[in-house]
């Protein structure tokens, strides 16, 4: 069709959520007094007005087919008040003003195969990214990794009896769209990119690729007559940053693209200031369809955390108290030279004190 009859977009931007908000929440907006956690998957928020709103939370496959979506809405109409929201971790929350609706909702969701829980001190739904299903640079899948892991962590999602919330994230390349968390399962490439020199000239803007490298390991070069790029393999830290702007710089490798596990990321300001996650395990095989090696390590860490941490200690708080040496001891994970940071500002990670645990 021609320009004339193309439709001009309405730039309405971000819609107002009030129109879709439960009336009790609208009425008591900003006037909540306290909340309770009567049982897994259920929250009771009480307003200064005395009003109550009950929330029932359930986990889903993040990527919904319309059938699953309809099932969720149907349950909302039949057993809820027709108002839902999705959490930042893609769990669905049903809000009802009548306590009596809670149990029927739970039953309906459970019967339909959704998992009620994920509240309070649970292992929350693992936040994930696109992976092989949709992204153009993934080293692994996302939905698959998460499905396989949630199958094994489901009880912690349902029981909510960890020392504190556990926020797990995954990412399918070192760009890490999944963010960070108490535990993160991320891609770690271990070999420099293999360059398809025939394509570079056509596909890549060489200067901007050169600029993208964190360690200036890329330089323009002529390779058998063609304008291409060259990587200084001594410098290269195998991060894959050159791959998005230049697909011929193949960083992904079925063998050498590994998984790494990080712990102790925490964005909340509760107690200590927000913290970045730290590397604890790497060289883990990228092993579809169920990635058992990675899951085993995650479960091992969670087990020790659950047994060892005091109430209200997040994973970073727990390790702060017991110390990293003991963390490696109890989890049985090896400590290697790779654990000693050598990136900018690494000195701050060295122990400049005699604070030592025995």
């Amino acid at each position: 069709m021609s320009f004339e009859d193309m439709r001009q977009p309405i730039e309405s931007g971000c819609p107002d959520g009030f129109q879709y908000m439960h009336p009790v929440m609208r009425k008591n907006f900003g006037l909540w007094k306290f909340h309770e956690h009567p049982k897994p998957g259920v929250l009771r928020h009480v307003a200064h007005s005395g009003d109550e709103i009950w929330t029932v939370k359930a986990g889903t496959q993040r990527i919904l087919d319309v059938f699953s979506l309809r099932k969720l809405t149907e349950i909302g109409e039949k057993y809820g008040d027709g108002y839902v929201r999705f959490t930042i971790r893609s769990n669905i929350e049903y809000m009802v003003s009548d306590a009596a609706k809670v149990d029927p909702l739970i039953t309906a969701l459970t019967d339909a195969g959704f998992i009620v829980g994920g509240t309070g001190n649970s292992v929350a739904m693992i936040s994930h990214t696109q992976g092989w299903l949709h992204c153009d640079i993934p080293g692994t899948d996302a939905s698959g990794v998460v499905k396989a892991m949630m199958d094994e962590l489901i009880e912690e999602f349902q029981n909510c009896n960890m020392p504190n919330r556990v926020h797990i994230t995954t990412s399918c390349c070192q760009i890490n769209c999944g963010g960070q968390g108490d535990i993160a399962i991320n891609v770690q490439h271990t070999k420099p990119p293999r360059i398809n020199h025939d394509l570079v000239a056509n596909v890549c803007e060489r200067p901007s690729v050169v600029a993208r490298c964190p360690v200036a390991a890329i330089r323009p070069a002529m390779v058998n007559g063609k304008a291409s790029l060259e990587v200084d393999e001594k410098k290269c830290i195998c991060c894959g940053a050159c791959f998005p702007p230049c697909p011929p710089m193949q960083i992904n490798d079925p063998e050498h693209t590994k998984l790494a596990i990080w712990v102790g990321g925490n964005h909340s300001n509760a107690r200590s200031k927000p913290t970045f996650q730290k590397l604890v395990a790497s060289g883990i095989p990228n092993n579809p369809p169920r990635w058992p090696e990675a899951t085993a390590i995650v479960k091992r860490i969670l087990k020790e955390y659950k047994e060892g941490a005091k109430d209200w200690e997040r994973i970073n708080d727990w390790i702060d108290r017991i110390g990293w040496p003991r963390f490696f001891e109890v989890t049985g994970l090896p400590f290697t030279k790779y654990h000693i940071d050598n990136w900018r500002g690494a000195r701050n990670s060295l122990n400049a004190s005699t604070h030592i645990r025995f």
Binding site: C14, F18, L69, F86, D136
Partner: protein
Amino acid sequence: MAAKKLYDTPMLDELEKGPWPSFISGFKRLRDDHPDERINEMASSLLGQLEHSYETRKGYWKGGTVSVFGYGGGIIPRFSEVGDAFPASREFHTLRVQPPAGNYYTTDMLNQLGDSWEKHGSGLVTFHGQTGNIMFIGTNTAGTQHFFDEINEYGWDLGGAGPCVRTAMSCVGSARCEQSCANEHGIQRWLVNNFTDDVHRPALPYKFKFKVSGCPNDCVNAIERADFAIIGTWRDDMKVDQEEVKNFVKAKGREYVIDNVITRCPTQALSLKDDDTLEVDNHNCVRCMHCLNVMNKALSPGDDRGITLLIGGKRTLKIGDLMGTVIVPFMKLETEEDYERLVEIAEETIDFFAENALEHERTGEMIERIGLVNFLEGIGIDVDPHMVNNPRQSSYVRTDGWDEEAEKWFARKAEEASA
């Protein structure tokens, strides 16, 4: 009609096992049970390509350029590198659609969106992506335009993709949370809807993200995942219901309270009196939220509420992960003027970013390169000790402007005093 092509998916089938809901089963429902053949074939083809990825441990999508009329972004275009083997999902673009602030939906609206997507797309949708968009995953170029035209008519707009202002996010906050110190959703919309042009027409050095949390628990990870993080807090004394404190001590015991509340305070601002009441040193409480979280009924934020502003949070690329750092320790958000001031700071920041950041450099990286002071001067904000954990540790600085800078401080203090 030609019978749709089926592919063996032995590896993916493994992901139908186990108690957690299986996305693969969902795909298969679309392939096998959906009335629309287009959807059956797209799902089947998608399953085929994904199985291929699982077997070879590689991805097979490449990017490209697709957008709807009038916009430059909002779509993540995907073309298959193995399209001949899996033709029905050869084009598999994703539309990023902005959710309502706070992610609220009526079931009706969800159904309506589902209906539209079934007409024009794959039938696969995610609530939400990590940035916060509804992701309508999988359609061809025409489909993106038609689907957008349809939902845009009943109130939905595209979000950001590319070097632009991105879709924002706010926690449930005031709508359902006793810890909330701000109108999260209002802030989100005031900000992001002031930049719709920058959302739809990527023209910045790189992406720019807003995130809003109602309190320092930061349920939307604003501090690490937003260039511009707004986090609620309060300035006066926290509220203490001593009766509830006593109940809590009675229920849990003194040792428990000392070991789990008193000693966990990062600034030792809490003292449990011998009579089981709690004394709070409000001047040294840093609003970390821990005691309020634990003694939810007994303790709550004060009345003089506002927000803290932090700049520069982001993930790994390319100098390493960065947390946002404080540039406005506290500001009230009550009057319209307050909101306008907030928007003004955002505009100053984005203008400065647009002019001074290198290509593909985020705000945090830019500040790392030019120094916080230069950034502050660029957006016209005065230095403040709340912005740092501690003053400089290095004597390597040229300080010959000391007296003038000292004067500025005294002048400001005098002003504040007289104000």
